[in-house]
Amino acid sequence: MKEQHITSNGQIKWGYAFNQWRMGWQGFARVDDNVRALKVTSASGFRCIELNAGTGPWDPLGRPESIAQNFGSVRKFAAQLGDWGIDRIVSVFFDPGQMSFEEGHFGLKTTSSADHAVILAQASVHTRFLAEVGGEFLVVQPLPPYWKEGTLSKTSLETAAACMNQLGGMTRALGLKTVLHIDALSALRTAEEFDELLALCPDDLIGLALDTAELTIAGFDVVKLYRRYHARVQHFHFKDALAVDTPGEYRLPNAERAMILAGGSREIPRWFGELGSGLVDFKALAAAIKELRYEGWIIVESDKGPQPVASSVMLNSWYVQNVLLPILA
């Protein structure tokens, strides 16, 4: 087969997020299905993955105890990955706002200091796992969605930053890094708020993960944003955005469902797309990445597509091989 040249040993390292394969509570619970998905990812040229911090026994790769139940142990799982064509788990994405059966909550707020102890305890499950499997990054959603939090105050930013800094200390002690990921619904809405949050988080403790689609939907120009914060960026999520939230429906109650899943008042059928199919200027971003000599990971994602997930992975692979790699060369 033709070489794919999507490597993880250069200045820019490529990986793929494993979050998109999860369909419903029980639709992706079988080990065979997960192994098949890993093979599809590997066959598409991506040999490193980012896992999603999940909950419940229906998510075989969501938590270390689930991995142990399904694969024998975390170490055995990590050793087996190579058999399926996967070299490494690079990172885990953790959103404290998501419910957790194990920790017994319906979603926590980093802006509430009363929630910090549980957030840290929950994060420690994943950071210990990452350290055990040779990972590098905990990718964290640092702020609640706007519809839950409202406009950020100085106090709420300071509280969230304090939580992130504790996480940063925890990960650093394990030889890992914490990077912050802002999504389309986040309470953080402006570049000034980015500045404030980052100013509260020491750069030797906390980095930035830029998600191209989420930030585009939220109205940011990701190329400008990258140029502004490139010194803090250690991680990317690459996916395309097919629409911008121009009506500001991130304010809607239950925006995860009302805006993202139901499409808001415009009934947007799909917010996220394969690379090159939407509004993100990936060519300009790749040029900036090359110009500013980015060193780090780019994790490609598929998210909520109507096609088979395999199609999405393969189309993204084609775009990386044929459009981005020549620019980055």
Binding site: K2, K39, A43, Q307, V313, L315, W318, Y319
Partner: protein, 316 residues
Amino acid sequence: MTESARKLRFAYMDHWRIDGPQGYVSQYSSVKLLDSFVKQIAALGFEGIETFDFHLGVLIDLFGSLANARTFLQERGIDRVVSLFHAVLFRNGVSQAHERQTHEGLFNHAHHIVKSADGLGVENLLVMPAGQYYDVEPVSDEKIRACADLWSRVGKMTLDYGIRTCCHHEFYCGIHHAEQIRKFYEWSDPRYVFWYCDTAQHVIAGVDPVDLYLKMHDRCGGFHLKDTHDVDRVGDYRQRPESEVTAKTTPRWFWEMGTAEGLVDFPALFAAMKEYRYEGWVSVEHDKADVGGSNYPASTAIAAWYIRNVLEKIYA
């Protein structure tokens, strides 16, 4: 990628269909859908595709000419349409390879196809060498000789266009048992008639494709790598109207390489290919991969995974 592994180039035989907003559609429905299909195949490392001859008209409709269609493929990493499957509608008294009085029409049909294919870079014309078993039986030596004579004549003609005629034995083909196959290749002209090794079809028919390759490697024009979980033990090859889709025992005959239940010994086949220094195109075929809720993209990726992680290591 080792240099020895690059002696093989992989192609994808295209049965692909997708669920879209307008229901179940072919990727030949639009340039956009074809673009998506070709990029997915190329992303996995395939460098060629194979398709049916009845898509020639659609390709001209979409691109204006077959040369334009090939340029479209090449811009996306697919070099050529390696093979065209010659979809003959075998009909008694009209177009049956075992009926000599129908040969002129069959020859002219094949001639029309290879003349029409110019521009795509086609190297092989694939054809089932006899009609459906229920139309051919009882299969006699004379009927096999008639088929051999027809495809020898066709094969000589197609070579004038730089295209090899390769025979592909579906498990319901009038020539599918080992002895029938042996006679067919003995009686057809080795200069003009090649054997296309469809691994699953042979296993379903009770024929070991590895053994066949060892015996007929010098006649082998290429491969359709696909797997099966079932051998036809009850005569499904006689099922009307077409055993592949209407057999009562088996809703899905074909599987991608790499499933635990697969019956084809692909490692042994690749070891044999290495031993006999096979070089050139090798095709993966997913025929009806969507039966039972699976889908073509995932099956194709799994097959690609199997090639990279298992088969290329054997051949290297």
